[in-house]
């Protein structure tokens, strides 16, 4: 009998050996990656909420996580976090769809200006494309406009300086402007703005559309930064809600399938890679352990498994022994100025005694 293709298949190609048998923490769906991120490579990250985990771990793992819109040191950590500094490379907010990502690049370079680019509500101003970026919205139109200008400058710097771009594809369902097709991260009226069926329409992107948007993005990004390498992941976080008239589980399966197919298709482009964080989280070997009680949020154990494999396969481990860069010195400006002002106030007491 002639040998068949499965006769000498490697273990990773056999479910029983690669998924069914190993301990959950030992399952490793990464077979080969043809890149290694060094500690000096500038890594940028954006995408859906799952991408926030990747950003955090890259930063904590001592890699050169690129942040082009850092919090000002005068803002304490809790204030900076509340205002979404440092969550991603710039204050993008969540970018759930490929269409949003393409749109962001074009907006940052002045190639697309949405017809509706501010929502005013109860005297506050909201960015329709980053409605949660500023708690309570911007206080004035001028504050919003300057913040956006500052943000776009940071976005351009990110695109121009990054060596690697990790993008997590999150959704296929999207609400868009009927005026010009501008894509919103969330349905208008849910976080800010007001829903109007005359102005906004629902789309559920197909794999072909996601591939087309991502391909256009990659082409335009490479025109700016020819050497950038792109790592795609698919968010394992299920849809919070679906606008399709069907069960959310069915819609979730569709979205994730589309995004997974699109990601796979895109890896046929030069220097575009896929990292299987989706498989690590959703694979049956963990028996649901990587989902929290709400069956949507991802547990830290699951994120840890993903990032352990990421660092193992995608980063240059030969530099692991190098000492981590010293943390930047603590900004002591406020502390010192409190001392200065107290001295001035003490002097005032002496003078008036």
């Amino acid at each position: 009998m002639t040998e068949h293709p499965y006769a000498n298949a490697p273990d990773y190609a056999r479910w029983s050996r690669a998924v069914g048998r190993p301990a959950p923490a030992d399952v490793d769906p990464v077979v080969r990656l043809s890149f290694k991120i060094s500690r000096t490579d500038k890594v940028a990250a954006a995408g859906s909420c799952f991408a926030q985990h990747i950003s955090r771990h890259l930063r904590e793992g001592g890699f050169s996580f690129l942040v082009t819109e850092p919090a000002h040191p005068i803002l304490p950590a809790e204030v900076a976090e509340a205002f979404n500094y440092g969550v991603f490379t710039a204050r993008f907010g969540n970018l759930y769809t490929a269409r949003q990502l393409l749109q962001l690049l074009r907006r940052a370079y002045g190639r697309f200006t949405p017809a509706e680019d501010v929502w005013e509500q109860d005297g506050r101003f909201f960015d329709p494309f980053r409605p949660s970026i500023q708690p309570g919205g911007f206080a004035t139109a001028r504050e919003y406009e300057l913040d956006r200008r500052q943000h776009f400058a940071a976005v351009r710097r990110a695109f121009e300086e990054m060596d690697y771009f990790v993008f997590t594809l999150g959704l296929t369902e999207c609400w868009v402007s009927k005026l010009d097709g501008a894509a919103y991260p969330v349905c208008p009226g849910t976080v800010a703005g007001e829903f109007d069926p005359e102005r906004y329409g629902f789309v559920n992107f197909t794999a072909e559309e996601v591939v087309a948007d991502m391909t256009a993005f990659i082409d335009e990004l490479r025109a700016i930064n020819p050497g950038v390498r792109i790592i795609l992941t698919v968010s394992p976080v299920p849809l919070a809600a679906t606008a399709e008239d069907r069960h959310v589980l069915v819609s979730t399966a569709y979205s994730k399938a589309v995004l997974r197919v699109a990601a796979d298709t895109l890896t046929r482009l030069k220097d575009v890679f896929y990292f299987p964080s989706y498989e690590v989280i959703t694979g049956p070997f963990s028996r649901g352990a990587y989902f929290a009680e709400d069956l949507r949020s991802i547990t830290e154990e699951g994120v840890g498994h993903v990032m352990r494999l990421f660092f193992q396969h995608a980063t240059d481990q030969s530099e692991a022994a190098a000492p981590a860069a010293a943390p930047p010195p603590k900004d002591d400006f406020l502390e010192k100025m409190q001392g200065v002002v107290k001295t001035l106030c003490d002097e005032e007491q002496l003078d008036s005694a």
């Binding site: 005068i74 309570g136 206080a139 010192k336 200065v340």
Partner: protein
């Protein structure tokens, strides 16, 4: 009448003395030896018993009034600015990070938390009206302020707050501490005033704005009202005293 505050009480006390009056006041800068001016019971600030005992008549407070100087008197090595909601068209420091005004307000509230709670507790405890006096407006001339800073900070006491590597360092060229742009200082002062106004009024107190005759056309403290070390002087204090006496006559 009872007066309570921090350093900005000094110019009012001086003005009163010049008029032959001795005010019943307490400057909380020196209160530390008695404990904290407020204690928290189930998260609710309660005035220290010693302060409760002192309350009588209408109360005039000059609490706070330094948060804006801590943030903005000396230019930060990474310049920042903000858009003031009540005056969004004021000029901006060139090449500065524009920070959300709400975020800077939160920074100030963090710094002033106890003082704001003292004010709240004061208003809630007093059986008489409580008036929060706005801190003096900022002074425009950064050069003069820079010299005043140098006069204070180049002393053993002042210099102790500064050290090589500190973010608060003299300008490399002039050797002086670089005072922030006047409009930034103005904006931060307005944020500080807004914070105290809202806290005072939420508790049921009355906020008393600065004397209108104390400022120039742009809203900066007139030169003749500046004391040493960046505070307002006795002449300004007299203007505030006139406001206080008018309010006391009404209540």
């Amino acid at each position: 009448m009872f007066y309570i505050g921090h350093s900005h009480i000094a110019c009012i006390v001086e003005a009163a003395r010049t008029r032959g009056e001795e005010l019943d006041f307490i400057n909380l800068w020196g209160f530390g030896r008695f404990g904290r001016p407020v204690v928290y019971e189930d998260g609710v600030p309660k005035l220290h018993p010693m302060l409760v005992e002192r309350l009588h008549g209408p109360v005039f407070s000059t609490l706070g009034g330094s948060a804006h100087d801590v943030l903005g008197l000396v230019q930060h090595p990474r310049p920042f600015d903000l858009i003031l909601p009540e005056a969004p068209d004021l000029s901006l420091v060139q090449d500065s990070d524009i920070l959300p005004s709400v975020a800077l307000r939160q920074v100030m509230e963090g710094m002033m938390r106890e003082t704001l709670d003292v004010l709240t507790a004061l208003v809630k405890t007093s059986t008489e009206p409580v008036y929060q006096i706005e801190s003096p407006p900022p002074y425009a001339d950064g050069e003069r302020l820079s010299q005043l800073l140098a006069d204070v900070l180049e002393t053993p006491v002042g210099g102790a707050f500064l050290h090589p590597g500190s973010q608060v360092t003299p300008d490399a060229d002039s050797g002086r501490y670089k005072v922030s742009d006047k409009y930034l200082r103005y904006k931060l002062w307005r944020l500080n005033s807004q914070m105290f106004r809202e806290t005072c009024e939420a508790a049921g107190g009355v906020f008393v704005p600065h004397p209108p005759q104390s400022v120039d056309a742009e809203g900066f403290l007139k030169p003749e009202l500046l004391a040493f070390a960046g505070h307002a002087n006795e002449i300004y204090g007299a203007m505030v005293l006139d406001q206080i006496n008018a309010l006391a006559a009404l209540s």
